[in-house]
């Protein structure tokens, strides 16, 4: 087992009532971890706790350690943190400017990278998501039409451009058809060699296909966390077993 790059210790997140209760979990580096659980179990809140993107009115206690540093330490610059821990929401959001401007915006603003240095990076990250051939000639065009799949891949490339160490994915394939989902997963598996990926998903087959580890969350509590094969074939907790059975039978 490789080392933990990100871990939480007794993480509690609450609005007017608790959303996450005492979650302690450690994520392996250069691996894909899936977070599964019923709707409203706190999966998205957990994901957002990792890059401090939860709304201001949510109170957080406990620790989230990224490479040994508590990210809720007031001295931590959460904007730099969000570059190291990238995130992709389920709906692809492309800013209404040209594709190239979209890609350049964050690196230019956050890190003052020069345009020349970025050109190489842009090609590389678009190649990583298999969009370079398709998009290289319409990067400066403001009137672009992209399929949902291409939009999501484009957003992935935009996040990769900041060279994050961890990538948080919130149901990234919820809007994609099965073929596009498989292509997206293939790209994730390629990225795994140098990137830690945490993916929230409702799709159990997806977790089974790509995740090295899987965490099961219910009512804000971490019920079970194990290697994916273990969790799916020999769940230790009754609640996990119940959830898996129900989901798989309903499919």
């Amino acid at each position: 087992m490789s080392q933990a790059i990100l871990k939480t210790e007794h993480l509690n997140v609450a609005a007017d009532r608790p959303i996450l209760k005492n979650v302690t979990i450690a994520f392996r580096s250069a691996a894909i971890t899936a977070v599964i659980g019923p709707s409203g179990s706190g999966k998205t809140t957990l994901l957002r706790a990792f890059n401090r993107l939860n709304e201001d009115h949510l109170s957080t206690s406990g620790r989230v350690l990224f490479q040994g540093i508590n990210i809720y330490d007031p001295r931590v610059d959460c904007f730099r943190l969000r570059m190291k821990i990238g995130m992709l929401p389920s709906q692809p959001i492309i800013f209404p400017i040209s594709l190239k401007a979209n890609l350049m915006l964050a690196p230019r603003v956050n890190m003052k990278v020069s345009r020349q240095n970025l050109a190489m990076d842009i090609e590389q990250s678009l190649r990583q998501v298999c969009l370079w051939d398709k998009l290289q000639h319409q990067l400066t065009n403001k009137q672009f039409k992209l399929s949902t799949k291409d939009q999501q891949l484009f957003c992935l490339a935009r996040a990769l451009l900041l060279h994050p160490q961890i990538l948080l994915l919130d149901e990234p394939t919820a809007l994609l058809d099965p073929a596009a989902t498989l292509q997206f997963e293939k790209i994730l598996l390629k990225l795994r060699s140098h990137l830690t990926i945490i993916i929230v998903t409702h799709n159990l087959q997806q977790a089974a296909r790509i995740a090295d580890d899987t965490a099961f969350l219910q009512h804000g509590k971490l019920i079970e966390f194990a290697q994916t094969r273990e969790l799916f074939t020999r769940p230790q907790q009754a609640a996990t077993d119940q959830y898996l059975t129900k989901k798989l039978i309903l499919k």
């Binding site: 993107l53 929401p89 709906q91």
Partner: protein, 297 residues
């Protein structure tokens, strides 16, 4: 099949439709009639002499200085109030939490926007003219107009910022951009037309305001030395410290005093000029927006 019975609903529908059309048509007629009237009287007055000459108690004369003063006070007021209004709007939009303090500020802005303009003029007179010793000047007038203008500009700016898709901001934050960068680089470019609509509305108010500037910017249009570009010298057109009668005040004054022979001709001419100014300002802003949109595409 529905049998045709008493056709009450259908008839009512027809009546209401006719009434609504009538209302819309009367509003249109009102505006067109008003414009026709003012333009019919005023347009013939417009000539080079009227646009550039200075007013004269015996012959009436032109409104050149008033025209320049109106433009100057517009620019000066916008320069003072835009940063204030935009800053407040950004604070209300981004940083303010929903608590008693924010509510208080919103209530204060509402009260401010419903104050009679003559009251604001009086406050401007007592504070800027008398207390701060700015005298009757463009500066006093602009500061007073700023007070008048602030609520409208703040609320239109805040609404403009809120009209942006909130997911855009989230996406920006997820890319490690700061709140400030998200506003400047993502939200403001997105809502620029709505922001500028607020500016256009304010400009109309500033250009047309009379009561608030009578006792602050003054009622005299002293001769200006057009070769003097030193803004600190009160004889210079650029000086914000000189008294400056605007077009709207000029219309009010010549009608109130009645000493000039061609009161009607001059006031209608000035009225047309005011309307043309506002139309030109709007056209300039929307034209600029359109050009920008075109160069991006």
């Amino acid at each position: 099949m529905i049998k045709p019975r008493l056709n009450i609903t259908v008839n009512l529908e027809k009546i209401i439709k006719a009434w609504v059309y009538l209302m819309a048509a009367s509003v249109l007629a009102l505006i067109v009639g008003l414009l026709l009237l003012v333009f019919g009287w005023g347009l013939p007055q417009l000539n080079w002499h009227f646009l550039t000459g200075s007013s004269n108690y015996l012959t009436g004369g032109g409104v050149g200085i008033q025209l320049f003063n109106t433009l100057y006070i517009l620019v000066l007021t916008l320069v003072i109030s835009l940063p204030l209004a935009l800053g407040t709007a950004i604070w209300l939009f981004q940083y303010a939490r929903q608590n008693w303090f924010t509510k208080l500020i919103r209530i204060m802005l509402e009260i401010l926007s419903s104050l009679p303009t003559i009251v604001i003029g009086l406050v401007g007179f007592l504070v800027f003219v008398v207390k701060f010793h700015f005298g009757f000047s463009l500066l006093s007038g602009s500061l007073t107009l700023m007070i008048l203008n602030l609520p409208l500009l703040t609320s239109t700016s805040e609404n403009a910022l809120r009209s942006a898709d909130p997911r855009l901001r989230r996406a920006g934050l997820a890319l490690g951009m700061s709140n400030w960068d998200c506003i400047c680089k993502i939200i403001i470019p997105q809502v620029r037309p709505a922001l500028l609509t607020g500016v256009v509305l304010s400009a109309g108010r500033i250009i047309g305001e009379t009561a608030a500037v009578i006792y602050t910017a003054g009622q005299s249009a002293a001769m200006l030395d057009w070769k003097n570009w030193n803004p600190l010298d009160t004889a210079s057109p650029l000086s914000p410290f000189r008294p400056a009668e605007t077009l709207a005040v000029h219309i009010w004054k010549i009608n109130a005093e009645g000493t000039i022979p061609q009161t009607l001709q001059i006031s209608t001419g000035a009225a047309v000029l005011l309307i043309l100014l506002i139309i030109l300002f709007d056209l300039a802003i929307y034209g600029w927006l359109w050009l920008q949109q075109r160069t991006i595409n």
